[in-house]
Symmetry: C4
Subunit: 282 residues, 4 copies
C-alpha cells in the first residue's frame, strides 16, 4: 500500500508518483480529499443529467446546465488523462472495467457536439454513477459489501437454477393465459404479453394494467400469486443461509492483528499475515 516504502527511487517521489498517490490512493490525506471532491463531482454531474431531462428545468436553466455539464466533462477529462499518465501500464487501465466507465463518463458530451439529437447518450451519462464504486473504497462500508458479494457469489448457481425454473414457469403460464383469455382480453393478445403479465403477477408487482377478466383466468391468477408469494422464499432462503455461512470467519480475520508481529489491516480473505507470513487465527 505505502508506495514510499518501495525502493523505487529512494529519494523524493516523482511528480508522476505523487499524482498517482493523489488519484489512486485512498488513505493518504490528499488521496482522501481527492476522493471526496470526485464523489461530489460525480453526484453533481448526475443530478445535472436528471435536471436536464425535466422540461421545466431545461427551459429555465438550460444554459447553466449545459455550462455545468461542460465543466464536469472537462474536469473528468483532465482526471482521465492524469490517470493514464500516472499509471505504469496505461493500456491495462484503459481497457479495465473502471477505465471504460471513466471514458464513457466524458464521451457523450463530446459526441453531442457532432451528432444532433443524441438523445440516447443520456443513458451513458447516467452510467457515471458507477464511478461512485471507485470512490467507495473511501468508506468503511467496503468490507460489508465484500461480505454481501461473497455470499451472493456462493448463491449464484442456486439462484441461476431458480431463474431458469421461473422462466419456464412464466412461459407455460403465459401460454395457458393466452389460450384462456386471449380471445376477448387485449392484455393477453399474444404469448409474450401474457408472459409479461405472468412476471408482473409472479413477482407480486401487480401493476393492474393487464388483469384477468374471466373466472378461469382469475383462478389461474390466484394460483400464480400464491406461487409467487411462496417461491419468493426460495432466493431469500438461499441467500440467508449462505450469508450465515460466510461472514463470521471473515470478519474475524479482517479485524484481527497478527499474533506474531502485531500488524493489522489484513484482508478479509487473508490466511497468512501479509507482513511476517505467520498463519492468522481463523
Amino acid at each position: 500500500m505505502h508506495r514510499s516504502q518501495e525502493p523505487d527511487q529512494v529519494g523524493k517521489p516523482s511528480t508522476r508518483d505523487r499524482i498517482h498517490e493523489v488519484i489512486f490512493e485512498t488513505e493518504t490525506p490528499s488521496g482522501k480529499a481527492f476522493d471526496v471532491v470526485l464523489l461530489v463531482f460525480i453526484v453533481a454531474s448526475v443530478i445535472i443529467v436528471l435536471l436536464e431531462s425535466m422540461e421545466i428545468y431545461r427551459q429555465r436553466f438550460g444554459t447553466y446546465l449545459t455550462a455545468l455539464e461542460w465543466f464536469f466533462t472537462i474536469a473528468f477529462t483532465i482526471e482521465y488523462l492524469l490517470r493514464i499518465y500516472s499509471v505504469y501500464k496505461p493500456g491495462k487501465y484503459i481497457f479495465s472495467f473502471f477505465g471504460i466507465i471513466d471514458l464513457l463518463a466524458i464521451l457523450p458530451t463530446y459526441i453531442g457536439l457532432f451528432i444532433i439529437g443524441s438523445h440516447y447518450l443520456v443513458v451513458i451519462r447516467a452510467l457515471r454513477l458507477l464511478r461512485i464504486f471507485r470512490v467507495f473504497k473511501l468508506v468503511n462500508f467496503l468490507r460489508q459489501g465484500q461480505i454481501i458479494i461473497e455470499s451472493l457469489r456462493r448463491s449464484i448457481p442456486k439462484i441461476t437454477v431458480f431463474f431458469f425454473f421461473i422462466l419456464i414457469v412464466v412461459t407455460i403460464i403465459g401460454s395457458i393465459m393466452h389460450v384462456l383469455e386471449g380471445g376477448f382480453n387485449p392484455g393477453f393478445s399474444s404469448i409474450p404479453k401474457s408472459i409479461y403479465w405472468a412476471i408482473v403477477t409472479l413477482t407480486t408487482v401487480g401493476y393492474g394494467d393487464i388483469t384477468p377478466q374471466s373466472d378461469p383466468g382469475r383462478f389461474l391468477s390466484a394460483f400464480v400469486m400464491v406461487l409467487g408469494y411462496s417461491i419468493i422464499a426460495v432466493p431469500t432462503g438461499i441467500i440467508a443461509s449462505d450469508l450465515l455461512r460466510v461472514p463470521s470467519s471473515k470478519e474475524d480475520v479482517s479485524n484481527q492483528s497478527c499474533r506474531y508481529c502485531a500488524s493489522e489491516g489484513h484482508d478479509p480473505d487473508a490466511v497468512f499475515c501479509k507482513y511476517c507470513g505467520e498463519r492468522l487465527n481463523p
Copy 2:
C-alpha cells in the same frame, strides 16, 4: 432503579422526588398508573387529530374536537412542566430527544392561536405518537425491541451498502426507460419520474399509474421485477443472519439467575450479576 435505596435524604422523600417517581418510574404502582393514563391520553389525542382531518367529523363535531384538543394540550403542558421541575438537570431533559418530542406535542395548538391556516402543524401533532415509545417501557415487550434494534444496528452497514446499490440501479434503469419510452409515454417524460417508476417496480409495489407501453419497455420492466423480487432476499438474509447471531446469548442472560446469589432479573446485556458482581454464565 430503587431511588429509595439511594442515600439522598434518608428520611421522607421530597414532593419533587415523589413527582419524579410518578412521572419517570415505571415499576412503582403510581408510576404504572401514570403511564397507563398517559398512554390513553396520547392515543386519544392522536385519534382527535385523525378525526379533525376528516371533513364529516370536522363539520359535525368541530367544537367538541377543539375542546378535547385543548384539554389534552393543557394536560400535556402540565406534564411537561412537571417533568422539567422534577428533573435534576432540566436543560439536559429539554434538549433530549423525548424532551423535544414532549414540547412538539403541545406547541402546535398554541401556535394555532396566532397563525391562521396553520395546516402544516398537523404533522407535528401526529408526532405525538412517538411519545408512546416513552410509555413502552411499561410493557414487557421492551426487551424484544432491544433484540430487534441490536440486530438491526449490526445490519446497518451492510444494508447501507445495499441501498447505495439500489439507488444506483434505479437511476440507471430510470435513464434507460426514459430513453426507451420517454418519447410517447408521459409516465417516463423525465428521468426523476422514471426513477420513481423504477422504485415502484423494483420494490414490487407496482401502483400501475406508470406502466411501460412498448415491447422493449416491457422487457426491461420484467427484468427489473425479477431483479427486485430476487434482491429483496438480500436485506432479509442480512437481518435474518444477524438476528440469529444476536439474541441467543442475550436471552440466556436475561432469563438466568446468578449462580452465586440466586438473584434474577438481570438485563439482557449484563455480563456480571448486578447484586454480587460474579460473572454470569454466557
Copy 3:
C-alpha cells in the same frame, strides 16, 4: 388413545362410547371414515355458500342450492347433537372453541327461516371452514403445524413490537402526505385515508387507487416503498431465526422410539415415554 384398554366397563362398550369413538377418535377405522365424510360435507357446504353468492348460480340452481344447504344443516345438526350426547361434560364442549364453531355452522340456516334478508349470516356460514381444523387431526400434517405454531408463538412478542412500530410509522407518514397532497389530491383528503395509502404502499401491495401526484409526494412515496421493501425483512428474519431454534429437537422426539420399551408415536413435546415412563432422548 386406546379407550378399549381403559378399564371403564371391561365388557362391551356402550352405544354412547361407540358414538364417541366414531365422532371424536381419528385413528380407528370408523373414526377415520367419519372424519373423511365430515371433511367432504364441510367443503361441499362451503362451496354451496360460494355458489349462492353468485348471481348466475343463484338464479339457475337456487332451489337445489337451498335443498343442499338444508341437507348439510340437518346433517351438521345431528352431528352436533350426537357430540353433546356422547361427551361426558356437554357444558364444557358447548362452550369450547370448536363447540361454538359447530353451533355457528348450523344456526344461520335456522335463523334465515325467521329473519328476511339475513344477508350478514353468510359470514357466519363461511366460518364453517374453521371446522376443517377439527378434521385436520386426521392428517399427518398436524405435527408440522405444531412446529410452525410453536415458532410463531416465540416470535409473537418481537412481531408485536414490530407492528406497533409500523402503526406509528404509517400514522406519521399518512399525516405528512395529507399535508403534502391533501389540497389537490382527493386520495389524501383525510389522514385516515392517507394512512390507508401508507399501508398499501409500505406492504408493497400497491393498488394504485391512490397515488401521489406531486414531486414531493412521489419522493416520500419512494422512501416509503424502499422502507417497506427493507423492513419486510424484519418479521422474516425473526420467524426464520425462531424456526431454526425450535423444530430440530422436536422432530427428533416425535420420530423416536423409546429405548426402554421400543414404543413409538410419542408427542413432539413429550419428555418421557408415555408407556413406560422412562426419559426419552432429547
Copy 4:
C-alpha cells in the same frame, strides 16, 4: 456411467448402443454436442411458438414460422423414435415423465393437420420447455438444483399446512368483504370474486382492479395487507431454515474423494464409496 466398461459385448459397441450413448449420455463428447444442439432446438422451437402468437409476426412471416415449426417437429420426431429404439425397455421410457413430454412436443403439429382451429394446442407446444430439464444434466448446476429440491421436499408438509391456513383465511375474509361492500361495489358482487381480491391483497400483488370503497372495507383491507406482509415470512422462514439444515453435509460428500481408494465424483447423497464400498466421511 461408462457403458463400455460393462461386459455387454466386450467388442465394438453396437449401433444401438452408440445411439444410446449420443442421446442419453451427457459426459461423452458426442453426448454433449447432442445436448447442446437439442437445447438450441428446444429454445428455438419455443420462440417460434411465441412469435406465432403475435399478430404482426404471424401475418408477415407466417409461412416461414410454419416451415420452421415442421422442421423442429420432424427433428423431435426422429429424436423420439431413436430414443424408443435405443432404450432397452421402450415401454418404460414411453410412459415415463420425460417420455410423455417428448411425445407432447411433437403431437400438436400433427394434430393441427386434422383439426381446424386447434388453438388450445399452443399450451401443449409450450410444454416443450420442460424438455430443457432433460438437457440440464449437462450443466454443473444440477447439483445446486438438487439441494434446492431436497430442502423444498423437506418443507412441503409445513408449507401445505400453511396453504390450507391461507385458503381458509382468504375464504373467510372474502365472505366478510362481500357482506361489507357487495351491495355497492361490483368488485365484491360474489364471494369467489371477493376471495380473488383477498388473494390479490394478501399476496401483496395488488392489481387495483378491485379496491375497497368504504371505510370499513379499507380498514379490513389494511388488516389483510399487514397480515399478508407478515405471514410471507412464514414460508421464507421455513425454507430458509430447511435450506440451512440440508446442504452443508451434502456438499461435503459430493466434493469429497474416498479415503480408501481416492476416487472422486460421488453423488451428493452417497454414503459409501461407489468404487470400493468404504464409508465416506459425513
